[in-house]
């Protein structure tokens, strides 16, 4: 069973190795004539006026929380769907109850405007 995962590990190493090789090859093959203007970050030709890492919209944070909730829900649903035929009607009802409880939270988030972007 576990030896089935061996090719996955090798592929992981090769895929990331390939990335490193491509980057290194590009660095070696490319021209290297850096100067101060090239090395500054893009800002329509100006020197950047303010610091970059100032703040960002709180809605991204709310979205991340909602994502965690629903992604875990999906992670619960996958094994449930595999075993769907074996757990019978009771198993189905239980999962629907669980989904309903989550939907109450979802409705609350909707009502509170966590899903609004203007």
């Amino acid at each position: 069973m576990l030896e089935n995962y061996f090719p996955v590990l090798v592929l992981l190493a090769i895929a990331f190795g390939l990335g490193i090789v491509i980057l290194a090859a590009s660095y070696l093959a490319g021209i290297k004539r850096p100067n101060a203007v090239k090395r500054s970050q893009y800002e329509c030709g100006f020197d950047p006026l303010t610091r970059i890492r100032l703040q960002f919209d709180v809605r991204y944070y709310l979205l991340a929380i909602l994502f965690v909730v629903f992604d875990i829900e999906a992670a619960f649903l996958f094994p449930w769907a595999v075993a769907f035929r074996d757990i019978g009607f009771l198993g189905f009802v239980e999962m629907m109850l669980f989904l309903f409880i989550l939907l109450v939270g979802y409705a609350y988030a909707w009502k509170k405007g966590a899903l609004e972007w203007e």
Binding site: P7, A25, F78, F84, L115
Partner: protein, 342 residues
């Protein structure tokens, strides 16, 4: 073929001894990755040519016959450009970001079956593996935006990450009815379960939502807001140049190919022919035809639709697709219980 493989195994074991399994795996990976990379590079050309024809232009046709050497010319050009790293960037994270994006997009291919025998790692949680690995790509985008230390890259990567995780949720939910019908997470078994009827027929709305979700998840037009060049220059890739820039796009196209392949396996019956009397045509041909149709749809959509606004995009994902796919899970379960064991 089987005798040839036997012969190879015998000779390899004699020559390399205990290292042979590793060497054999590396050979198999090369055989897997070479066509994937080939498809990725030629997908870029196909995109430019097809969209060109759709807009009554010719598209790139100067390099080689019909422009067939264009991807090679593009690659050479990207390789000889200067790799610029902004002064204020976090250099390690900055260079790690494209590696993670491309690495995640390629690693997910390990469990994709191209026919009942043609599969690198036949693990029984294949679908879960693909979803887990492909969602790692979002780290690459977040890291690129953070490490660039540039306003446009930062905003672009935030948008991109929010969009990707939003549509990942609805994409995951659309696949659950498929698992309920097939009763397995192994991609091979899912295809085998479609021998009677492709899942696209009973689950047609889920297929539509899946396809729209993956278009959004791979940041393709009309959902290409992270790269909306009119407002964000080039989004998360603003500060990248040369091949570190090219790798984001290799990753994007590899992801496009991956989600199309997954759609073929989950909904369109993989290598199964549409009607059984067409079974004399090899399965891999059917597989490639279906894959081609989905990839063409990606390009067609890009040539046809104007770009979405960000609030429309988030509304579609969270307020339409999410409740609807949850409702469809409920409906599928109810119908299976009403009809009895389907």
């Amino acid at each position: 073929m089987a005798e040839f493989l036997e012969y190879m195994h015998g000779m390899g074991t004699d020559l390399l001894g205990p290292v042979w399994p590793l060497a054999w795996t590396v050979i198999k990976i090369a055989v897997l990755l070479a066509p994937v990379m080939f498809c990725v590079t030629y997908l870029t050309l196909a995109e430019r040519r097809i969209i060109g024809f759709m807009q009554i232009r010719i598209g790139p046709n100067r390099v080689g016959p019909f422009g067939l050497l264009q991807p090679i010319a593009d690659a050479v050009k990207l390789f000889v450009k200067e790799t610029l790293i902004p002064e204020k960037a976090d250099k390690v994270v900055f260079l790690l970001a494209p590696i993670i994006t491309l690495g995640a997009a390629l690693t997910a291919w390990a469990v994709i079956p191209f026919s009942p025998e043609l599969i690198l790692a036949d693990i029984n949680v294949g679908l879960l593996y693909v979803l887990a690995i492909s969602s790692l790509g979002v780290y690459g985008l977040l890291m690129s935006g953070w490490a660039s230390n540039s306003r446009y890259a930062f905003l672009g990567s935030l948008r991109s990450a929010a969009q990707m995780v939003s549509y990942e949720v609805s994409m995951g939910f659309t696949l659950i009815p498929v698992i309920m019908l097939s009763g397995s997470l192994s991609l091979k078994d899912v295809v085998a379960a479609q021998s009677g009827m492709w899942f696209v027929i009973p689950l047609f709305p889920m297929f539509v939502i899946y396809f729209i979700s993956v278009v959004a998840e791979t940041n393709r037009a009309p959902f290409d807001l992270p790269e909306a060049e009119a407002e964000l220059v080039s989004g998360f890739a603003t500060e990248y140049s040369a091949m570190s820039y090219g790798m984001f796009f290799l990753g994007e196209y590899a992801n496009m190919l991956l989600v199309s392949t997954l759609g073929v396996l989950m909904f369109l019956g993989g290598w199964l022919p549409p009607v059984s009397w067409l079974g004399f045509i090899p399965g891999i041909i059917w597989f490639l035809i279906k894959l081609g149709v989905l990839l063409f749809a990606f390009l067609w959509i890009r040539a046809t639709f104007p770009r979405y606004r960000y609030d429309q995009l988030m509304r579609l994902g969270w307020k339409v697709f999410l409740p609807f796919s949850l409702f469809w899970i409920f409906l599928t379960g109810t119908i299976i219980h009403l009809v009895g064991a389907v």
